[in-house]
Symmetry: C2
Subunit: 198 residues, 2 copies
């Protein structure tokens, strides 16, 4: 039996397909939407369709943007000779928020994951190597510190090394403010291996 | 500085205004939407606008429905002489899922909350008393067991008592499967007071 009228259960169904939204929160959000002023609900609906319709990949770095070339790639203040490779646009934004990185990015939009059948051709690797044919000094690999992220980093490193371009990997270790006793063993080992002389 | 293009940050802003969605989950949901097939994104958007446009209050019980009179109020299998008073449509659905209640409902769409300036005239109480002028045997008060829910229950009880209509309140006590040591003192006291002879 349907407990809610069709529109409400459609809405709950759509919402519960979103990541991190279970059936209870989908119900809560649905009732929040039903109690919104009509213009607020329609601005939410149009934000969804607008974003999906107009946002595309930057033709250079493949971040999500509303322009052909994203503001970072088209800025002449950024050093185009240094490319940071990240998994997705959120990672790019995380580094942009730091505000200290002056190079450009390359967004893979995924990582290699043989278990799920995602190979080197399914992420933006070919496009990265095309960019490296230009004038590039350094590639900084900033994929996540997960199995897939590390495997992708190793794969990229192996292919770039022979070209003579400098390749680096962001440091792995104890996060600032982190409490040693709460940190996993692999991270502790990495932090030890990556120690710096003072 | 804007880290995301306008459409993306609009979408993140709209999503993070939803209940239970913080800024990190809003980003995650936004990128999920950006990576959805276009027709899935537009069906999500239209579910939101459809629900908000077409769902209204039932003219009898004030539940949210797409018809003038909801299926429960218009069903001739339900006992119209027993009215269960609930706070919102979700509470009605919770009891409908149990499937044992054969009466009808009255949805207050809120509770009295003097601290927030919500008085008896701001919830559907007048409409409840209008219904009681008809042929009603019993009013079951099933507002939540919160301070506001209890206060609303007491207020309704006080007004109905003189009319001679039977008023009851759903039982308060230890939930089935509940572990005594994890249950708060007020609930334990209620369970003791409401004990039944076996």
């Amino acid at each position: 039996m349907e407990y809610y009228s069709k529109q409400i259960s459609d809405l709950i169904g759509e919402l519960s397909s979103l990541p991190g939204v279970g059936s209870k929160s989908a119900q809560r959000i649905a009732f929040h939407i039903l109690n919104m002023p009509k213009d607020r609900a329609s601005s939410l609906a149009s934000a969804i369709s607008n974003a999906r319709e107009n946002v595309k990949f930057c033709k250079t770095c493949f971040t999500l943007t509303d322009q052909d070339i994203c503001p970072i790639c088209s800025s002449n203040k950024r050093n185009k000779k240094v490319i940071m490779v990240v998994e997705d646009t959120r990672d790019l934004v995380a580094y942009e928020k730091v505000g200290k990185y002056e190079g450009v990015y390359h967004v893979l939009n995924g990582t290699m994951n043989p278990m799920q059948g995602i190979g080197p051709n399914d992420i933006r690797l070919k496009e990265l190597f095309e960019r490296l044919e230009g004038d590039v000094d350094e590639v900084i690999i900033a994929t996540n510190s997960t199995t897939e992220g590390e495997a992708t980093a190793m794969y990229i490193t192996k292919l770039i090394k022979p070209t003579g371009i400098k390749v680096s990997r962001i440091a792995s270790g104890v996060p600032v403010g982190g409490d040693l006793e709460c940190i996993d063993e692999v991270t502790l080992l990495r932090a030890l291996e990556g120690r710096k002389e003072l």
